[in-house]
Amino acid sequence: MNKYIKYLLLIIVIGLVAYKSVYVKKLSEMKVATNEKFDAATFSKKLWDDKLPAKLGGAVDLPIFINATQANPADAFSKYTNALGIGNYRYALIKAEGVVININEDDITLQVKLDDSLMIAKLATEFVYGNAIRDASGLVDVKDFPNTMDLNNISEELNKMVRKTVLPQFKAAVKKGDKVIVSGAIEIHKEHIKWNELEIIPVQLQIVQ
């Protein structure tokens, strides 16, 4: 009788140890999010067509933005800029009007009129990469995208649209001396603002004769 009790106790102990030692999880639970395929191209095209034009309509004039950052940087960054992550980079949608003073291989040098002075800005015509348009637009919320690559792909698609649909026609037509009106995105390092290195990523471009 004692022998049976001993075996029974042994089986219970082994059962308890085994139960606490092995965890079984569904593979689908481990990879729940990776199976949901996000279509960044469709999402970005919809953003580009339906929402971005209205946002660009409300873009701040570059001289106003510069004056605001010089008067009260914290207020200006809070009012006019946006960024999805933590860090020093802030992004703004701006409007600017300038005269083409140089056409370079990768960019165009614009002379932009401020209140009582002139400034030089670069208009990117080749290296349109990064998060400037996505973040400046304020149309994408990091909380909606737990997969980081989805956010990266949105930037990629928006930049691709600039490179493929906005720039070819403009580059073919623009000449030195032309007046250009641009709406686009800029990246500002809030700790080290360098206006002499300002680069505008264009979204809308217009040559005014």
Partner: protein, 303 residues
């Protein structure tokens, strides 16, 4: 027996008990991760917690042991730098099941339901910025080598994909070799030496971290090619910041371990005090550092 009971009750009373936070880091064999772990511990202590650092030595099994010990020892939060994006998920889920929140620092895990929040370097965007500068420095043409980090780590691929999202648009840029050196300086030196024998005419090398960039640079110095080949890293480690200042390394992506570690510790404190609405992932911007703007930076951050 009765006295033991009272002693036990006394030691568990909330007034006397100091809350504990664990910091689990992939390796302490790399100064960047030492800085990350120490900063997290300092911030946790500043917030009033006991903090203990656990070194996983790049070993998922050891990491798993750490998690089990942490749960049993009653730590109330884990500030976590994972060893493997997939392999570490089970450990985080185990902590979650035990009611211990996990805040990932720098390295992503491949689950959106396991960690309470992931505070991650925006490696992809940082590499996009490096790749743009890389392409400009090479005038859109040349042969290059890519040295990857640990293949099981998401940062390795985020950096590689970000880099290729730019350089692959320029057919004049040809990748002659792509090999992993596990984020390790010595391995990178060996890998680079071997690649240089097969491909002596290269113009640049892009490395997934600064340790590997220094290893590659050493190999280039040994072969007499250091002046010809441009080296690009990622991290913002001390020796690379010095090397950029001396024009030996072309650029790096400055990460901010202090920001990530302090945010993770802050989040843990807020969780313990009752907050529950954390974003699953928060990107921390990576900044391009070159000879032109090196005066704005110090190792692991900005001046």
């Amino acid at each position: 027996m009765l006295s033991c009971f009272f002693i036990q009750c006394k030691s568990n009373s909330p007034a006397d008990k100091k809350h504990k936070v664990a910091i689990v880091v992939s390796t302490l064999n790399n100064p960047w991760f030492v800085f990350l772990a120490n900063t997290a511990a300092e911030k946790a202590k500043a917030l009033g917690y006991d903090a203990k650092i656990f070194d996983s030595q790049n070993n998922t099994a050891l990491e798993s042991d750490h998690f089990e010990n942490i749960i049993v020892a009653g730590f109330e939060a884990i500030l976590f730098n994972s060893t493997d994006a997939d392999g570490s998920v089970a450990n985080v889920l185990k902590a979650k099941a035990a009611g211990v929140p996990v805040f990932c620092m720098d390295r992503e895990i491949n689950s959106n339901i396991a960690a309470t929040s992931q505070i991650l370097s925006d490696s992809y965007s940082g590499s996009v910025a490096i790749a743009k500068y890389f392409t400009q420095q090479l005038n859109k043409k040349g042969n290059y080598v890519e040295i990857l980090g640990i293949v099981g780590d998401n940062n390795t691929w985020a950096r590689s994909k970000g880099f290729h999202s730019v350089v692959d648009n320029y057919p004049g840029l040809k990748m002659v070799a792509q090999q992993s050196a596990d984020f390790d300086r010595n391995k990178a030196m060996e890998v680079m030496e071997s690649i240089l024998q097969a491909h002596p005419n290269i113009d640049a090398v892009f490395c997934g971290n600064d340790g590997m960039a220094m290893g590659a640079y050493q190999a280039l110095v040994s072969s007499g090619k250091a002046d010809k080949v441009k080296v690009f890293g990622f991290d913002g480690a001390e020796d690379v910041i010095t090397a950029i200042n001396e024009n030996k390394v072309a650029a790096t992506g400055m990460q901010f371990p202090k920001v990530m570690a302090e945010t993770a510790a802050q989040f843990a404190d807020e969780y313990i005090k009752g907050r529950r609405d954390f974003p699953q992932k928060i990107p921390v911007a990576v900044e391009l550092v070159t000879f032109k703007n090196i005066q704005d930076y110090i190792a692991y951050g900005k001046k």
